[in-house]
Amino acid sequence: MITLNINKKNYNVDVDPETPLLWVLRDVINLVGTKYGCGVAQCGACVVHLNGEAVRSCVTKVSRAVGQKVVTIEGLSEKNDHPLQKAWIELDVPQCGYCQSGQIMSAAALLRENKNPTEKDIDAAMAGNICRCGTYLRIRKAIQLAAEMQRKGIKIP
């Protein structure tokens, strides 16, 4: 048995400790917001936070998450009101939507560290997330909007 703390809740799971966190989340714990896109740390669809850091859960063994705080898209905010989620909706970012939870989790790790990211900071933080639908421009704008909301305490209703 492995005990995991995910989105502030404890889960006991009976899995091989080598199993990637991604598949434990999706298949065992039934949190499917974290996506599978490549399985080889190339696309970012599977990004979750491990103690606040963005990690690719497809190549993160579940054993590494033991005793750590895991946050997935489902637990990013209590009421789906993280500034990024608000900004994403405000700017209607998604197209097919499949890559977006990974995009938001990568962006959230950036904003946690860096309240006022430059274009270059955003480029660097988002380079690992692929979007075949090509929503990159809106993602950039949404990150900038969320950063501004955070800094100025502005809320979008």
Partner: protein, 753 residues
């Protein structure tokens, strides 16, 4: 203004009924006959009538539910189709709930997302349904209040009688409205009075997407569901010889390993039954990771499949096809294309006397363009859930065209169509690939065999190496100029593996006196399929680069040159079947010229490339502005002009154009799938380069031509001309012309040299 060309006909039916517990339901259905202007790559579309269906429900508590009838893969139909209903209904968009129905295809129409057709097919039907519901509600209110119906007005889901000061919600009249006869030929609103349509409405699933709700096929769960994967041959042209699963079966969570044929010998393949590998080596287990792991322990022997005979039943009847067994290499594919390009080809269109014109030309410009296979790389890999029993089948997952898949399933499972239910989930991308139902057939057969509910999952590697790619293409263009540098003849000869890309009646056909279009193809075992704007996505690269080069040779501005040709095509068209409207084509070029400040000195610092194209009934033109960043060409900004008639949801439409531009730049610069001894060389994103965040332009300025024409497609049309505009900008940036895709290959060569 002339009407948009509508090449489908239809008869529509509305039906009303009372809802259990009160309220009104209008169901609508219409028979539509598609005449898709773009034959989907490699297949014949079934030539039959389709039933388009959906419903509007109005409950006494004033909730309005609209069924979105068509699959959603990011083109936002789930928002835009209901908007059309809400417009005619005069509903308050805030109170509208969009449902993604039970999606049983027998009841809900062809449900085809592809060919940029969703809005175009449903436009009139949805308007009529909304309008009928509104008139019935008005009639119900008039009877209740005993006032003439003409004195009533509606606004945002309310009915008003000004004289008496009475008002009521739609919901309060819904039950009574269900007893009112459906009006014949309900009057539609004047386009000028639109309030919901043409104003931006947010994606109805936005919140679910950003909070990670289960929406996609891969997210679907079912009681007792197992996971299956197919271990397919490592190369096109190979098949299963034998396997030893002893080690695999010992792995934790593994339930079964078996092999099975997808289609029995002589099975008549429908147009979308493209199958790449017929022997399925299946591993079934409890969880995804366990199956991924256990697969690695399989000991498999593969062998050459040799030539394979197939029976394909398309629109033109049955055909026997021989799929060659060769294990192909990219270098030999290129060599074969080169050789084929010099052989006689099928004539597709001829105007005037091109042979003589070329003989008498003062100058001939000849250029050859090539492009590789492309993988769709939808971010959600192929997957489907199936639960098949002796009596019935339930299938759930992401699919573009359930209506075309069901007949195959029925034959395959030996179940009548009404015992097969296909439910659709949101799709993590489609781009044409999910019109092909092989993975659904596979899932169904696996479930039938193991007698359990199962989800078939393709890993990224499975997905990328399975085939159904954009074909490999080439085309040689020739232009003849006279001594005064007038364009007197134009010749295109295009080919591909395994199909050619030529649209013979497209621009510049109709604008040149002497014109010849020819096509040839080389059969292959590498399967192909529709890929965002099939064929156009190559033509717009090659032809638009070529036009740029002719303009330069003539000493003309590239936009002015195109406009001159279009003027000719309008005033004095050559030939009969020119399938574009020269005015609308010129319209997007003029708009992009204006919006991009084409001749403004302050824009001289950019390497600017322009291209335009017409496909799927819509027109698009782009100006790509390139700079050098860290010594490499980089597209910093793009101006786009689009004519797709009425734009239903402007911000969502803009998003789609932005996406098409980014996708186009990415595929033009980096996209490509090559083969070595039959195997796909690129099998994941570490080898297949996709455009990334920092490589996308900082700004895409999208403009729509304002007109009141019925809406036409938007998912595909903006995509093709991006390729040409990128090539033309690269020329300005580097001084070199780019003839081979992906363009990055040449850039790498240049920077190494």
């Amino acid at each position: 203004m002339e009407n948009a060309k509508t090449n489908y006909s239809r008869r529509s039916f509305l039906k009303s009924s009372a809802l259990v517990g009160g309220g009104l339901m209008i169901s609508f259905s219409s028979l539509a006959k598609l005449g898709l202007d773009d034959k989907v790559s490699g297949v014949d579309l079934p030539d039959q009538w389709y039933e388009l269906t959906g419903y509007i429900k109005i409950t006494p508590d004033n909730l309005i539910k609209i069924l979105n009838p068509n699959p959603e893969f990011g083109q936002n139909v789930m928002t835009s189709l209901p908007m059309i209903v809400a417009e005619e209904l005069e509903a308050d968009w805030k109170n509208v709930v969009v449902e993604m129905g039970p999606h049983d295809n027998v009841k809900f129409g062809p449900q085809f997302t592809g060919g940029s057709n969703s809005v175009r097919m449903y436009w009139k039907l949805l308007r009529e349904a909304g309008s009928a519901a509104r008139h019935m509600l008005l009639e119900a209110a008039a009877q209740t209040w005993s006032v003439p119906v003409e004195e009533l007005t509606t606004k945002a889901g309310m009915i008003y009688h000004e004289k008496s000061g009475k008002s009521g919600t739609y919901g309060s009249f819904a039950s009574k409205a269900s007893t009112i006869p459906i009006p014949k030929g309900p009057k539609l609103k004047d386009v000028k009075d639109f309030k919901v349509v043409r104003s931006s409405q947010k994606n109805v699933e936005g919140l679910k997407i950003v909070s990670g709700q289960p929406l996609f096929g891969l997210d679907y769960k079912h009681e007792g569901m197992l996971i299956a994967m197919i271990h397919h041959p490592p190369a096109f042209g190979m098949k299963l010889k034998s396997f030893d699963a002893a080690q695999t079966l010992k792995m934790p969570g593994i339930i079964d390993v078996f092999s099975q044929k997808l289609y029995e010998e002589g099975f008549e393949l429908g147009g979308f039954d493209t199958r790449t590998f017929n022997d399925l080596l299946v591993v079934v287990g409890k969880t995804t990771w366990e199956v991924i792991n256990a697969r690695k322990k399989l000991v498999v022997e593969w062998e050459p499949a040799g030539d394979i005979k197939e029976t394909v039943a398309g629109r033109d009847g049955k055909r026997e096809v021989v799929v060659p067994g060769e294990l192909e290499n990219t270098s030999t594919q290129l060599a074969k294309m080169k050789e084929h390009a010099n052989k006689p080809a099928q004539q597709l269109r001829k105007d005037g006397d091109p042979e003589t014109a070329f003989k008498n030309a003062a100058q001939i410009i000849e250029r050859t363009y090539t492009a590789p296979f492309l993988a769709h790389n939808c971010m959600e890999p192929m997957n489907f859930f199936a639960h098949v029993t002796d009596e019935k089948a339930l299938l759930v997952g992401p699919l573009q065209a359930p209506g075309w898949t069901k007949p195959t399933l029925s034959k395959l499972l030996k179940l009548p169509a009404d015992k097969i239910e296909i439910q659709m989930t949101r799709m993590g991308g489609g781009f044409g690939l999910r019109a092909y139902g092989h993975y659904l057939s596979e899932a169904a057969l696996i479930s039938k065999k193991i007698k359990a509910p199962v989800k078939l999952v393709y890993t990224r590697e499975d997905d990328m190496t399975y085939g159904i790619y954009r074909p490999m293409y080439t085309a040689t263009y020739r232009a003849a100029l006279d001594a005064n540098k007038n364009l007197i003849a134009f010749h295109v000869k295009g080919g591909g593996i395994p199909e050619h890309p030529i649209h013979a009646n497209r621009f510049p056909a109709g604008a040149v006196d002497n014109y010849l279009a020819e096509g040839w193809q080389i059969p292959s075992n590498i399967t192909i399929g529709a890929f965002r704007a099939p064929r156009s996505n190559f033509n717009a690269a090659a032809e638009q680069s070529f036009l740029d080069e002719i303009a330069e040779a003539m000493g003309k501005d590239p936009i002015d040159f195109r406009l001159e040709l279009l003027k000719r095509a309008k005033e004095n068209p050559v030939g009969e079947n020119n399938d574009y409207n020269a005015d609308r084509y010129a319209g997007v070029l003029k708009l992009v010229k204006e919006k991009s400040g084409w001749n403004k000195p302050e824009n001289k610092k950019y390497s600017r490339g322009v291209a335009s194209y017409f496909c799927h009934n819509s027109y698009a033109a782009h100006v790509v502005d390139m700079i050098k960043r860290d010594g490499q060409p980089y597209v910093e900004r793009v101006f786009s002009a689009i004519d797709c008639g009425i734009v239903v949801n402007p911000d969502a439409a803009t998003n789609m154009v932005e996406g098409a531009v980014v996708d186009g730049i990415g595929n033009a610069l980096y996209g490509g799938l090559t083969h070595k001894d039959g195997a796909a060389v690129q099998n994941n994103f570490n080898r297949y380069r996709m455009i990334r965040f920092h490589e996308a332009p900082k700004k895409i300025d999208v403009h729509f031509v304002q007109n009141d024409l019925d809406p036409t497609g938007l998912g595909e049309p903006p995509f093709p001309p991006v390729f040409g505009a990128v090539a033309n900008a690269l020329y300005k940036n580097t001084g070199e012309r780019f003839y081979e895709q992906p363009y990055n290959l040449q850039l790498n060569k240049t920077s190494r040299a």
